[in-house]
C-alpha cells in the first residue's frame, strides 16, 4: 500500500477490501464493462484508502472519529419496508411532482409514483446495464485517482438508480427523489445514480434524504453522475437535512455538452453529523451555463464541507457560484471552490462568491477559493467573506420595536434570501424557507 500517511488506518478499509473479493460471485451477473470499471476503481481504492487530513482536499475534514465507529457493509437484502410517515415527512407540501422512493439506494417502484411520461425512463442501474445511454456514460467522468470515496463506491456500489430523459423530452412535473436509509445496525452504504439527459430535454429533479435507523450510526457514500447532452436544461435541487447519526459523503459529477444549462440549488441544515459534498461540473462544450447555489445552515457540532469544481474546457461558457453559510453553536464549515479555465476556454465568464455568517463563539469556517486560469481572454472573479451581524441594520430593526431575537432572525433570513430567492419552484422555496426558520431556532 502506498503512502500510509494519506490514508486512515481503519477496519472499514479492510472490510471493503474483503468485501470486493467476496462479491465477485454476485457481480458475475453484471456486464463485462461494469466489471472492468469496478476492477479499475478497486485497484485505485486499494491504493488510496480513505483520506486522512494530510490529503489537501480533506485538510479540514477529519474522518477518523466517523470511521472509528464499527460499520457493517450493506448486505443484499430482501425488500425492506418503510414507514409511510418517513415518506410523508420528506414530501414537499403542495408540490405536484412524481415521488420516487429509494431505499438504501434501491429504486422502489412499489413505493413510488408511476411516471407515465413518454421519453422518461427510470430503472435500477443493473436493469439499465444493456442500454446504450448507460454503456456510453456509466463510470466515464470521475477522475477516481483524486476521489477516494468515489473510487470505493465505483468498486463496491450495490443499489442504484438510472434515469434517462430522451431527446426533446420535456418533463413537465418535477421528480422528487426521496433517499431513505434504513437499517438496525451501524452500516456503511454506497448508493449510486446515473442520469442521462438527452439533447434538448428538460427536467427538474429534487433530492431529499431521510434515515430510519433507530439511532444506529450510518455512513452514506453516494455517487451521482449526471450527463447533459446538447441543449439539455436541468434544475437540480438538493435538500440536505437529517439526523446526527447520519454522515454523508456525496459526490456529484456533472458533464455538460454545448448549449446545456445546469442549475444546482443546495440547501443543508443542522442535524447530520457530517455532510461532505463534492460537486464537480465540467463545461465541455461551447455556450454552456452552470449556476451553483448553496445555503448551508450548520449547528450543534456539525461539519458541513462543500467542495466544488467548475471546469471550463471550451470557450464562451458562463458559470456562477454563490454559496452562503450560517455557522451556529460549535459547527464547523469548509468551502473550497476550484475554478479551472483551460487553454481553449476563451471568453469564459466564471464567478464565485462565498459569504459566511459566524454566529457561534466556537463556530469555525474555512473558505478557500482556487482559480487556475490558462486562457487569456476571460472574466473571472471570486470573493469570500466572514462576518457577524451588521450592527447598523440590527439597530435599525430595534429602533422599530423589533426585539434582538427577531431582528437577528430577520437578518439571517435576509442573508439566506439571496439564495432562496433564486429557487424557481415556489413550493420548494417555501419548503426551504421553512427549514431555514426551523434551523435558526
Amino acid at each position: 500500500m502506498e503512502n500510509r500517511i494519506t490514508q486512515i488506518n481503519s477496519s472499514l478499509y479492510d472490510q471493503c477490501i474483503a468485501d470486493y473479493a467476496t462479491r465477485s460471485s454476485l457481480t458475475s451477473t453484471e456486464t463485462a464493462e461494469v466489471s472492468a470499471i469496478r476492477e479499475q476503481a478497486f485497484q485505485l481504492f486499494k491504493k488510496l484508502g480513505f483520506p486522512s487530513t494530510k490529503v489537501e482536499d480533506w485538510k479540514y475534514t477529519n474522518l477518523v472519529p466517523a470511521l472509528k465507529e464499527g460499520f457493517e457493509l450493506e448486505q443484499d437484502e430482501e425488500v425492506l419496508s418503510v414507514k409511510d410517515s418517513i415518506i410523508a415527512k420528506a414530501a414537499i407540501q403542495l408540490l405536484d411532482c412524481y415521488h420516487i422512493v429509494l431505499v438504501n439506494g434501491k429504486y422502489r417502484p412499489d413505493l413510488s409514483d408511476a411516471v407515465p411520461v413518454e421519453g422518461l425512463y427510470l430503472s435500477s442501474l443493473s436493469d439499465a446495464a444493456g442500454k446504450p445511454a448507460f454503456k456510453q456514460h456509466f463510470g466515464k467522468y470521475i477522475d477516481l485517482e483524486k476521489f477516494h470515496f468515489a473510487a470505493a463506491n465505483t468498486a463496491l456500489f450495490r443499489n442504484g438508480l438510472f434515469i434517462e430523459v430522451k431527446r426533446n423530452t420535456v418533463v413537465e412535473k418535477p421528480l422528487h427523489l426521496i433517499h431513505i436509509t434504513t437499517t438496525g445496525e451501524p452500516t456503511f452504504f454506497q448508493p449510486r445514480q446515473l442520469f442521462v439527459m438527452g439533447t434538448s430535454s428538460s427536467i427538474s429533479i429534487i433530492e431529499s434524504y431521510a434515515t430510519d435507523t433507530n439511532g444506529a450510526q450510518v455512513f452514506i457514500n453516494n455517487v451521482s453522475e449526471i450527463v447533459l447532452q446538447e441543449n439539455a436544461q436541468v434544475q437540480h435541487y438538493y435538500i440536505q437535512a437529517g439526523d446526527e447519526h447520519a454522515r454523508y459523503v456525496h459526490h456529484t459529477e456533472v458533464y455538460q455538452q454545448a448549449n446545456s444549462v445546469y442549475n444546482n440549488y443546495k440547501a443543508s441544515f443542522p442535524g447530520t453529523s457530517l455532510w461532505r459534498n463534492n460537486l464537480n461540473v465540467a463545461l465541455d462544450g461551447e455556450n454552456v451555463e452552470s449556476h451553483l447555489y448553496g445555503i448551508y445552515l450548520a449547528g450543534g457540532r456539525q461539519l458541513v464541507d462543500n467542495h466544488t469544481i467548475v471546469d471550463h474546457r471550451k470557450p464562451h461558457c458562463n458559470s456562477n457560484e454563490l454559496y452562503k453559510g450560517v455557522m451556529k453553536d460549535e459547527a464547523a464549515g469548509v468551502f473550497n471552490g476550484k475554478i479551472f479555465v483551460r487553454k481553449d476556454a476563451q471568453k469564459t465568464n466564471a464567478f464565485q462568491q462565498n459569504n459566511n455568517m459566524i454566529l457561534g463563539k466556537k463556530a469555525v469556517m474555512d473558505s478557500k477559493p482556487q482559480l487556475e486560469i490558462f486562457a487569456d481572454d476571460v472574466k473571472c472573479s471570486h470573493g469570500s467573506t466572514m462576518g457577524q451581524f451588521n450592527q447598523e441594520a440590527l439597530f435599525y430593526l430595534k429602533s422599530r420595536g423589533i426585539g434582538e431575537e427577531k431582528a437577528r432572525a430577520l437578518l439571517i433570513h435576509a442573508f439566506a434570501f439571496d439564495i432562496t430567492e433564486k429557487i424557481p419552484l415556489p413550493e420548494v422555496q417555501t419548503h426551504i424557507n421553512a427549514l431555514i426558520e426551523q434551523g435558526l431556532k
Partner: protein
C-alpha cells in the same frame, strides 16, 4: 411627554451634549436647528439608544418613564420613533414583512394581539394613500435600491404605519428635492394630532415653512442656547449661524468678567 434635563453625552470620549434641556408636550411640534457639529444627530442617537453614545449626566423622561434606561426596542415600543438621516438598506427583508413584524411586536408589548392580515393590508393601503406613497416601493426589500428621497419618504411611511407618540425627524429634509419635500411635509402635517408630538431636527429653515413648528430651538455646542417660535427660524435664516456664535461669544466673555 418628553422632559430632558441637563443631558450630557459623549461619543468616543468626546463630550458632545453639554447640558441640554428640552420640554415637549403632546400636540407640539418642536424644531431643533443648529450648525454642523452642534450635537443634533447626537441628540437623536441618544434618545433612541444607539450604541457608542455614553450619557454622562442628566435625564430624559418619556411619559414619566426613564427613557435612557430602556433598550432601543423598548423605547420604540413605548412610542418613540426616529426617522433616520441615513436609513439603512437591508436587502432580503421585505418592507411589508418588516412593518408587520414591528407592528406586532409593539402590539405584543402593549398586551394587544397580532394584527389580522386583512386589517394590516387595509392599514397599508390607507397610509400609502395618505402619504402618496408608491405601492411598488412598499413591496420591495427594505430601502433596497431606493433613492435618497425614497428612503426618507419610506421613513415617514413607517411613521404613519407605526403611529408613535413621539417622532424625531433627523434631517429628513437634507437631500430632498422641493417636490419630495412638499410631499413629505404634507404627510407629516396629516399625521399631526393632539396625541402625538414631533421633534424636527434640521439644518435649513426651508422645511419649517412646510411643517410649521410651535417652537424653535437652537442647538449650539451641545446646548440649547435660544428658544422661540417660528420667527426665530426666520431670524436665523436671515442672520445665519454666525450671529449666534457672536451672541454666545459675548455671553462667554461676559461670564469671564463676572465675579464668581
Amino acid at each position: 411627554m418628553l422632559s430632558i434635563q441637563n443631558l450630557k453625552a459623549s461619543v468616543e470620549g468626546k463630550e458632545i451634549l453639554k447640558g441640554l434641556n428640552l420640554e415637549v408636550k403632546a400636540g407640539e411640534v418642536h424644531a431643533i436647528m443648529g450648525p454642523n457639529g452642534a450635537g443634533k444627530s447626537t441628540l437623536a442617537s441618544v434618545l433612541t439608544g444607539k450604541d457608542n453614545y455614553e450619557v454622562t449626566d442628566g435625564q430624559a423622561l418619556f411619559e414619566g418613564k426613564d427613557l435612557l434606561d430602556l433598550s432601543p426596542e423598548d423605547r420604540a415600543r413605548e412610542g418613540v420613533f426616529l426617522a433616520f438621516q441615513y436609513p439603512v438598506e437591508i436587502p432580503g427583508v421585505s418592507n411589508i414583512n418588516f412593518l408587520k413584524t414591528a407592528l406586532n411586536e409593539i402590539r405584543a408589548y402593549k398586551g394587544q394581539p397580532n394584527m389580522e392580515a386583512k386589517e394590516f393590508l387595509k392599514l397599508l393601503k390607507e397610509k400609502q394613500k395618505l402619504l402618496e406613497f408608491d405601492a411598488a416601493l412598499a413591496n420591495r426589500s427594505l430601502n433596497e435600491g431606493f433613492s435618497g428621497g425614497e428612503k426618507k419618504r419610506n421613513e415617514i411611511f413607517q411613521l404613519a404605519m407605526l403611529d408613535p407618540k413621539l417622532a424625531i425627524l433627523d434631517e429628513t429634509d437634507s437631500g430632498l428635492d422641493i417636490d419630495a419635500l412638499r410631499v413629505v411635509s404634507r404627510g407629516v402635517n396629516k399625521l399631526r394630532s393632539g396625541k402625538n408630538a414631533f421633534i424636527i431636527i434640521t439644518h435649513y429653515q426651508r422645511l419649517l415653512e412646510y411643517i410649521v413648528p410651535d417652537f424653535v430651538h437652537v442647538l449650539y455646542k451641545g446646548q440649547i442656547v435660544k428658544s422661540g417660535t417660528k420667527e426665530l427660524a426666520l431670524e436665523l435664516e436671515e442672520k445665519g449661524y454666525d450671529w449666534l456664535k457672536e451672541d454666545s461669544k459675548e455671553t462667554e466673555a461676559a461670564d469671564i468678567l463676572l465675579p464668581r
